[in-house]
């Protein structure tokens, strides 16, 4: 069958400034990536990539971004992602970087990868805890999140990342 195939690029937004978390929104990230594609690949690259380009999912707390593009121009998009340097929103500009975690053909495969990745990150966070109190609080946070319906947490993200001393890179 002939259909339009998409590629979903899962990235992590890394920023030094904690105030940057507030201004992470899908429009700002989309504009930043579009700008980077225009700089790297010119008018032609911009026109090709932005046919089916959107920010499908964004989590400001963990900095997880899911971008969609056509299958043919996945390489153009991937090569332009390292050139995203600043995030602009509401008149403020923060330096940031986008790190590619996974490229998948469907949202479901990216979600599966994200769940495994977050599990591994939690273990790393636990190992990098400085003292016993932090360790206890992380353990408690992990044990207390559940997929029960009375809580407003969604079932996809089963982690609450805390601002511990060490940021994994």
């Amino acid at each position: 069958m002939v259909r339009f195939k998409n590629r979903y690029v899962l990235c992590e937004l890394l920023a030094d400034d904690p105030r940057c978390r507030r201004c992470i929104e899908d429009r700002a990230v989309g504009l930043a990536v579009r700008d980077a594609i225009a700089r790297a690949h010119g008018d032609y690259g911009l026109g090709r990539c932005c046919v089916s380009f959107t920010v499908k999912y964004l989590n400001a707390y963990t900095g997880t971004v899911l971008l969609r593009c056509r299958k043919d121009c996945r390489q153009l998009l991937s090569s332009a992602l390292p050139l995203v340097r600043n995030l602009e929103s509401r008149g403020q500009r923060f330096p940031c970087a986008l790190r590619t975690l996974h490229v998948g053909g469907t949202i479901r495969t990216c979600q599966k990868f994200l769940i495994q990745y977050n599990r591994r990150q939690l273990l790393l966070l636990l190992r990098n805890c400085a003292n016993e109190e932090e360790r206890r609080s992380v353990r408690q946070a992990v044990l207390s999140c559940s997929i029960a319906e009375e809580q407003a947490q969604s079932g996809e993200e089963e982690e609450e990342e805390e601002e511990d001393g060490t940021e994994t890179d």
Binding site: I37, R39, A40, H41, G42, Y44, G45, S79
Partner: protein
């Protein structure tokens, strides 16, 4: 493709479509509004600017050389790596301004061999 074996040939000829490393173009710059004629460095700058506008930093980094340039007739011979041939030609086509005056690049000849640009049957004058 299976064919009947030809009788023992004395030679074999192989044609490669994309065998050459570089492609050569003979282009002429047209300036109808009478802008100042560019020198060779200005022409290279114009070509790189055209590539940067259409194909971004990746396009501007293409190895393009101006091998010969005649300022009187505004005719130049450019060399580009074969993989960037389409990018260069499309960028030259869409370059419309030089120093905010209209300009146009006319591509007269292209070839993977430089020697082929020496003769042009279109400019042949028959006595």
């Amino acid at each position: 493709m299976e064919r009947a074996e030809p009788p023992a040939a004395a030679y074999e000829r192989r044609v490669l479509r994309s065998g050459a490393q570089h492609c050569y173009l003979r282009v002429q710059l047209e300036l109808p509004d009478g802008a100042a004629r560019p020198g060779a460095p200005q022409l290279k700058q114009l070509v790189v600017t055209a590539l940067r506008e259409l194909h971004g930093e990746v396009g501007a980094a293409l190895p393009v050389d101006v091998l010969a340039y005649e300022e009187k007739s505004l005719c130049a011979i450019l060399r580009v790596i074969s993989s960037g041939f389409v990018k260069l030609w499309s960028a030259l086509t869409l370059q419309g301004f030089y120093q905010s005056r209209r300009c146009a690049f006319r591509v007269l000849q292209t070839s993977p061999f430089l020697l082929a640009l020496a003769g042009n049957s279109r400019e042949l004058l028959l006595d």
